[in-house]
């Protein structure tokens, strides 16, 4: 006999929410953020300008956004999931249209105060929309094709738009993150096999859509030392920097590769290289360890949640974070091509910081509202 249970849950008061906030995770993010600021300080040859100071301010602002998102009731996020996704998708289209009308690739929308990169926001938007969609699919119907068309479109529409920008890194993250959500939702493994086979078949077609510089990056990845002063330069110099760091590193502010400008993009995509050069294997493993702790928090929060939407959302955000970390580190150490994905909380950049911290806000919202129950069709939302 089925135990009847109530949907919904108590509306917690603000103070209660604040107390139940996941302070350990906040502290952990603070530590990682501090490492990032330290690296940016070093990237500017030991100066707060031009990066470290701005990054610190952004980190503060993003932390406030995170807290706000955490304190907002999860049911609110459930309610606006599709709307949020829709708005971001429109922004992506807007960017695309303006890029076509204007000159060259334009990934930004200038809101005057800050510039918004819709492709970054889409990483969260897609997770929200997928979490809500799969929350509404009963376990026995998950394999049905009719149930998979919409979520596939949720991923592929923005992925194609982003790829046209062209931003291979973000497109890759959307597809891999979306795939992970499908997997978590319980889609049959053979269906993945079919998709994978289809994807492989589409490679020659996709190749034609890649820009020359993207093709070059892949060639370069396959044989980086072939062209050490040309396209392979970034990759090779990055490996030299990391390798020469050795076990213990050259010391804070002492990285020769970074400070003598052999290392490109040292404040953004290649900041991990600089960290590995200055702090060595020990430093880089410690940073990876910090990220793993964050992932553990993410999984733990997912498992503690008593609603499917929350669990999917928490896992989706964790996977998203993982993809940032893995793609970035794997690219700078030369095990995947250079695709332009920042290292979360450490690379210099406003939108990525805001996106990641907003994601953590949602994660914490899942934690605070872990006992809220939501039905397949939104029962309990009100």
């Amino acid at each position: 006999m089925e135990q009847p249970f109530e949907y919904g849950g108590p509306r917690q008061r603000f103070a209660e929410k604040l107390v139940s906030l996941n302070w350990g995770l906040v502290l952990l993010l603070g530590v990682i953020g501090a490492v990032g600021i330290a690296m940016l300080y070093s990237a500017a040859n030991g100066a707060w300008n031009p990066w470290a100071e701005k990054q610190a301010i952004r980190f503060g602002v993003a932390a406030l956004v995170m807290l706000a998102a955490a304190l907002v009731d999860l049911r609110f996020w459930y309610r606006i999931a599709y709307g949020f996704y829709g708005v971001v998708l429109l922004l992506l289209v807007a960017v695309e249209v303006r890029g076509a009308v204007g000159m060259g690739a334009q990934r930004w929308i200038d809101l005057g105060v800050i510039q918004i990169q819709p492709s970054e926001m889409m990483k969260i938007g897609a997770m929200l929309a997928l979490a809500r969609w799969f929350n509404g699919v009963p376990v026995e119907e998950i394999g049905r094709l009719s149930r998979l068309v919409v979520p596939a479109l949720i991923i592929l529409l923005p992925a194609v738009l982003v790829l046209k920008q062209p931003d291979l890194g973000t497109a890759l993250m959307l597809v891999l993150g979306g795939g992970a959500m499908f997997f978590l939702a319980g889609v049959r493994l053979w269906q993945f096999g079919v998709v994978l086979a289809g994807a492989l078949g589409a490679v020659p077609v996709a190749w034609r859509f890649l820009r020359d510089y993207q093709k070059n990056r892949i060639y370069t990845f396959l044989d980086p030392e072939n062209d050490p002063l040309g396209a392979g330069y970034h990759s090779l110099q990055s490996k030299i920097a990391i390798g020469s760091g050795g076990l213990t590193g050259k010391g804070f502010l002492m990285g020769t590769q970074s400070h003598l400008s052999f290392l490109p993009e040292k404040q953004t995509d290649f900041i991990f290289t600089m960290l590995a050069e200055e702090w060595g294997l020990i430093g880089s493993l410690v940073l990876l360890g910090l990220y793993i702790l964050v992932f553990v928090y993410g999984y733990a929060i997912a498992f503690r949640s008593r609603n499917h939407f929350g669990r999917l959302l928490a896992l989706g955000i964790t996977v998203n974070l993982f993809l940032y970390v893995f793609i970035n580190t794997a690219m700078v150490i030369g095990i995947i091509p250079v695709v332009g994905v920042p290292l979360p909380l450490i690379s210099y950049g406003g939108t990525a910081m805001l996106t990641v911290m907003f994601g953590f806000g949602l994660l914490m919202s899942v934690y605070i509202h872990r006992d809220t129950r939501l039905g397949r069709f939104g029962e309990g939302v009100d």
Partner: protein, 637 residues
């Protein structure tokens, strides 16, 4: 919607989530493993690559050694040059800065355009040259105002400097940019420096390695743009060696002025005891400084089209028929052979006939019965026709070689020539025609195939003066003479005897004494009146064109009535003082100089004045109080 289904969904999710977590851990493990591989296993290799990236070895060019005269007067030195450079990054407003600069030193529009173009083409931190080779005044004006000229600074360099310009150009030579052939022939890394200059002629070329010195190195840290961040280590090179020449600039200067006044001429002054070259002049000269930064097309055209041929060092590479200056040599050969004695007389009716060929004496009426001493004094052609005919060309040639004619003298300069002393074998081998008696007759008066250089004439005169096989040298291995220690600086000149009996030398020297000091001597008007400084000498006139016999029959056409380039060369050799000859001089004035005169008229006065000053200064024995007031500022570097 039942609780069970919800639980089943939760279980599925958990299972899948754990699988996913496992996959993620594995991927991060790959990253960690790769990091271990890069940072531990291959750390050494990458550490080396990083060092190679950042450390660059820069060469430091050593200062080139100076070339000085016998008393240390610099003939080639290094002058500091100044150039103004602009670092656009430090300038802020490049246009305003250039405006400010042009208020101090005028910049032309094209200079300005070039600067702007250079700035656009380079990184902002790369210094762009505003003005090269600035004068001291311009440099000072900018230096004083650097506070108002953001990003402008003065760089100091060195440039080869030749304070005497064309006066000693052929001896000193010049430096110029390194050519492809220079690079191919040497592995000295200095040659690859963009501003490096290499000796291309004269002593600068012959002693290039000594003057050059060895490169220093500076180990610098550079960034990815090649910009030097700091110096890590420095190893000083060795400055080039100073080369002291035997040249006395005061004598060189006098000789050059006198030669230049005659157009194309050369003069060699030797210390016969040591072989030191005291003056080596070829006029006109050129300014070696013009070559340092590359000749302009106009300058080059002017140099190579000049009929006086300034680029050629006529003193060592010009070859001339010695004319009558060859007669003492023929006399030596004749006396040494024993076929002619000091008292042998030949009759000079004014001409000499062999078969159908008629050889004239310069004196239409002839000299009558004449013996060797007077034949030298009055330069009787017929006597020497007879003497040469009796002795034969091969004896003459052998004697000529013993006196340094037609042989390599080993002077330390590139492009020296030996001249030509013909023999029977030579003529047969070269022309395929056997030697004719008439050939010998021509050679008897220094015409025909005989060709000598002014330097070899001076050596020949020195050997006549001393009886020893004097050999020339330009470079003083012992360095410049100093007033204190080695003032006299006697070098034992262990030259081997020429190997002709002293009494024959006496006869010939007496003849040469008479040439200058006795009335009717061909250079009597060029004598030195002070008996202590008196000289012996021999005039000569070398035919440039074979003058047709009919012209000869009506007397030799001289003076300005024939075109300059067809006129005869005027020659003179001399040594002094008479009692104990030490200073030896040879002068060749091409085409008789501006007056078209003969050896006695044009060349002898030059030799006289040079020999007189040489004896008054006596540079072989002492350092004069005032070595030579060199023109212009002399770099002491």
């Amino acid at each position: 919607m039942g609780n069970k289904r919800e639980q089943a969904r939760g279980k599925l999710l958990t299972r899948r989530a754990l699988l996913l977590a496992g996959g993620q851990l594995a991927l991060l493990g790959t990253v960690a493993g790769r990091l271990y591989f890069l940072q531990v296993v291959q750390a050494g290799r990458y550490a080396t690559l990083a060092e190679e990236n950042r450390i660059s070895i820069r060469l430091i060019a050593p200062p080139r050694g100076r070339i000085v005269d016998r008393f240390g007067v610099p003939l080639a030195g290094n002058r500091p040059t100044y150039r103004a450079v602009l670092v656009p990054d430090q300038s802020g407003d490049v246009g305003a800065t250039l405006d400010a600069v042009s208020r101090l030193v005028t910049l032309t529009d094209s200079e300005r355009r070039r600067v702007i173009r250079d700035i656009r083409a380079k990184h902002g931190f790369v210094p762009v040259v505003i003005r090269e080779n600035m004068s001291w005044d311009e440099m000072a004006r900018i230096e004083v105002n650097t506070l108002e000229l953001a990003g402008v600074s003065i760089e100091q360099g060195r440039i080869r400097d030749y304070p005497f310009g064309d006066t000693v150009s052929h001896v000193v030579g010049y430096v110029a940019a390194v050519s492809e052939e220079d690079l191919a022939g040497s592995d000295d890394p200095l040659l690859e420096l963009p501003d490096f200059r290499i000796g291309k002629n004269g002593i600068e070329k012959a002693y290039d390695l000594e003057l050059r010195g060895t490169a220093g190195t500076s180990q610098v840290e550079v960034n990815a743009f090649g910009q030097v961040v700091r110096e890590l280590a420095r190893e000083e090179g060795m400055a080039g060696q100073e080369i002291a020449l035997g040249i006395d600039m005061a004598l060189q200067d006098l000789a050059m002025k006198r030669c230049a006044a005659e157009g194309s001429a050369s003069c060699v002054l030797l210390d016969a005891w040591t072989g030191e070259v005291l003056a080596l002049v070829s006029s006109p000269g050129y300014d070696p400084g013009d070559f340092t930064n590359g000749l302009s097309q106009a300058t080059w055209q002017k140099l190579i089209t000049d009929p006086l041929n300034p680029l050629s060092d006529k003193a060592i590479s010009g070859t001339y028929a010695p004319g009558s200056t060859f007669k003492p040599l023929v006399a030596m050969a004749a006396l040494d052979s024993g076929l002619v004695t000091p008292d042998t007389e030949f009759f000079c009716p004014g001409q000499f006939q062999i078969g159908n060929a008629l050889f004239h004496c310069w004196k239409k009426g002839g000299h009558g019965a004449i013996s060797i001493r007077r034949a030298i004094k009055e330069s009787c052609d017929v006597f020497f026709y007879h003497a040469a005919d009796v002795v034969g060309i091969d004896r003459i040639a052998a004697m000529a070689n013993r006196f340094g004619l037609g042989v390599d003298l080993g002077i330390e300069l590139p492009n020296a020539r030996t001249g030509l002393i013909p023999t029977r074998a030579w003529k047969l081998a070269t022309t395929g025609v056997t030697w004719q008696r008439g050939d010998t007759i021509s050679c008897g008066i220094g015409q025909g195939y005989v060709a000598v250089t002014p330097l070899s004439l001076a050596i020949y005169a020195a050997r006549l003066a001393t009886g020893r096989a004097v050999a020339p040298r330009l470079v003083r291995a012992q360095g410049a003479m100093t007033a204190d220690g080695q003032a006299a600086d006697h070098i034992s000149a262990d030259f081997a005897p020429v190997g002709v009996a002293d009494r024959y030398f006496t006869v010939v020297r007496n003849g040469m004494y008479d040439v200058v000091n006795e009335p009717h001597g061909t250079a009597y008007h060029a004598r030195i009146d002070d008996p202590a400084f008196a000289m012996c000498g021999k005039t000569g006139t070398a035919q440039v064109h074979h003058i047709a016999r009919d012209v000869r029959d009506h007397g030799i056409v001289t003076g300005t009535s024939v075109p300059w380039k067809d006129r005869d060369h005027a020659l003179f050799i001399a040594f002094a003082p008479v009692a104990e000859p030490r200073y030896v001089c040879a002068v060749v004035v091409e085409h008789g100089g501006t007056s078209g005169g003969e050896g006695g008229a044009v060349a002898a006065p030059i030799a006289r004045d040079v020999l007189l000053l040489a004896q008054q200064r006596d540079p072989a024995r002492r350092v004069p109080a005032e070595p030579f007031g060199a023109p212009g500022k002399l770099a002491q570097e």
